[in-house]
């Protein structure tokens, strides 16, 4: 089945059968229990999170033979909750991209139309959930990498607040922006997953010591009386008309459900893409310095260490990763640091300040997740700037460290492609987002629509 979608990079067939048998025995002997909420549930993992004994390639040629020596904290949490972890999901190399086309082994296809991209970088995570290849998946979101594929494939994508979920065992792209989250079929599943993966971890110094609420309980209450902001800057020029009209209809639905909608402004939104691509590439250039062909990964020999590094990295990294490392190195280099990196950090303050201010008056924000539906494979590959601009609605919340969720809110007619609604909230307001998303889901049936999967393979 995965032949047509190519969501998986590897599958541990025997491992999952063994785990399933154990889960069956446990259910037969002890029954289900609240502390094992994922018992027997197959969950797939983006190939950027360490899982002991499993490959960890990050979609890169450089790590094609790497096997994780330990479990990421979130993987330990999944296992403790009883989940069957059985497969590794395709992604843009080192999570750099918006289409999963930057994977060294080829793209994942959109389950609704195999000639289109699934979004990225967690394209495999969203596509596998929509194609019913797993119940839920883990992904990572640095600038929209969980939410944008959720929108383009038609499932739920949750990016928790920075510090809510441990990053220990997540291969770092941009450490001040990266956050682990999940793709699921329903909002209720997202609440369950978040409950499992949240919490303080002493192994991640940016993890926030804060108790984990009963997220599923948040779904019980209604959104009546809640104030939701509609930021005018998110209805950008060049937005697909069907996306804009679906979002407008979704907003009306939220109003019908009892929420008060108010127009708000986040005036620095138009600077977010520029700010993001300086900060993210700067952090990436330092994080990816560790891939030097010495301690792990692929190596191309050279007559001295310098030659070895250059040859290893030159042929081990794909094009987008090289482009971003070079941009990041440039903005941090002597003579350009103040003009680019320092300036971007100051603009980041302004962008975060916009959110702080607006969240004094509203409980959450409602926006499109992506200005367009899924585009054709190859369409934006020669134009990196156009690819970057596709993340315009999602990356501000990574800069600010807020939480966000994308849920299905409509489809285009011809071709049939999903449209996603994004809800953004202040730090640690996941319960509010789940509540709004859950109410919307209950009142609509967009999440019930399924693509027809061609089992014969494309």
């Amino acid at each position: 089945m995965d032949k047509s979608i190519h969501a998986f990079l590897s599958i541990n067939k025997q491992g999952v059968l063994d785990q399933a048998e154990k889960a069956d025995r446990e259910i037969a002997e002890k029954g289900l229990s609240a502390d094992r909420p994922l018992l027997g549930i197959p969950i797939a993992i983006k190939d950027v999170l360490a899982e002991k004994g499993a490959p960890l390639t990050c979609g890169s040629r450089l790590l094609r033979d790497f096997v994780s020596p330990y479990d990421a904290t979130v993987v330990t949490q999944l296992k403790n909750a009883g989940a069957l972890t059985f497969g590794r999901l395709n992604m843009d190399e080192f999570a750099m991209g918006s289409s999963t086309e930057n994977s060294s082994v080829g793209p994942t296809c959109n389950p609704w139309d195999y000639s289109r991209i699934p979004g990225g970088s967690s394209g495999g995570s969203a596509a596998s959930v929509v194609a019913d290849e797993c119940i839920a998946s883990l992904g990572s979101d640095t600038g929209g990498s969980i939410r944008q594929p959720a929108s383009l494939c038609g499932c739920v994508g949750l990016k928790p607040t920075y510090g809510r979920v441990s990053r220990y065992g997540l291969v770092a792209f941009a450490s001040s922006l990266d956050q682990v989250g999940c793709n699921t079929k329903t909002v209720s599943d997202a609440a369950t997953m978040l409950g499992v993966i949240s919490g303080y971890d002493k192994r991640d110094s940016t993890s926030v010591p804060r108790s984990v609420p009963e997220y599923s309980a948040a779904l019980q209450s209604s959104i009546k009386g809640m104030k939701i902001g509609l930021p005018k800057e998110y209805f950008v020029e060049g937005m697909q008309p069907e996306v804009a009209s679906s979002i407008r209809q979704a907003v009306e639905k939220l109003e019908e459900l009892g929420a008060e909608i108010v127009e708000v402004s986040l005036p620095h939104t138009e600077y977010a893409v520029a700010c993001y691509y300086i900060i993210a590439t700067a952090e990436a250039s330092t994080n990816l310095a560790r891939f030097d062909g010495i301690r792990y990964g692929y190596r191309v020999d050279g007559k001295n260490p310098f030659e070895l590094y250059c040859a290893t990295r030159g042929s081990g990294f794909g094009e987008e990763v090289k482009r971003r490392i070079i941009l990041g190195t440039y903005v941090l280099s002597s003579g350009y640091y103040d003009a680019y990196y320092l300036k971007a950090q100051k603009v980041r303050s302004l962008i975060a300040g916009d959110f702080t201010k607006v969240f004094e008056t509203v409980d959450a924000l409602v926006t499109p997740t992506s200005p367009t539906t899924a585009w054709k494979l190859g369409e934006k590959m020669d134009d990196p700037l156009q690819m970057y601009l596709s993340d315009v609605c999602t990356l501000s919340s990574n800069l600010a460290g807020n939480c966000g969720i994308s849920i299905p809110c409509g489809f285009t007619d011809n071709p049939t492609l999903p449209i996603g609604l994004q809800l953004l909230g202040p730090p640690f307001s996941e319960e509010t987002l789940l509540k709004i998303a859950g109410d919307f889901e209950q009142a609509t049936d967009w999440h019930c629509r399924k693509p027809v999967i061609n089992n014969a393979g494309a």
Partner: protein, 93 residues
Amino acid sequence: MQEINVQYVAELARIRLTEEEETRFGGQLSQILEYVDKLNQLDVEGIDPMTHAVPLVNVTRKDEVQPSLSNELALKNAPASLNGLFKVPKIVE
């Protein structure tokens, strides 16, 4: 248009590029830098740079010996090793 010396920066980043990549990246990166120049429209005088999203400070732990990866496991993914160590090309003549 902002010019970027791709060859020099790639060397700083320890990445060997083909001539074709050098030319293509040069054009693409100039275009991206021209776009990010829009940040200059903003007055950031007196604004503090934001390095991080969470207000945690001085996160420390006790400096205690704890179990970690075994030598064997630590070398398992190494492209070359010898006598329990990473093997590297000759560094001093």
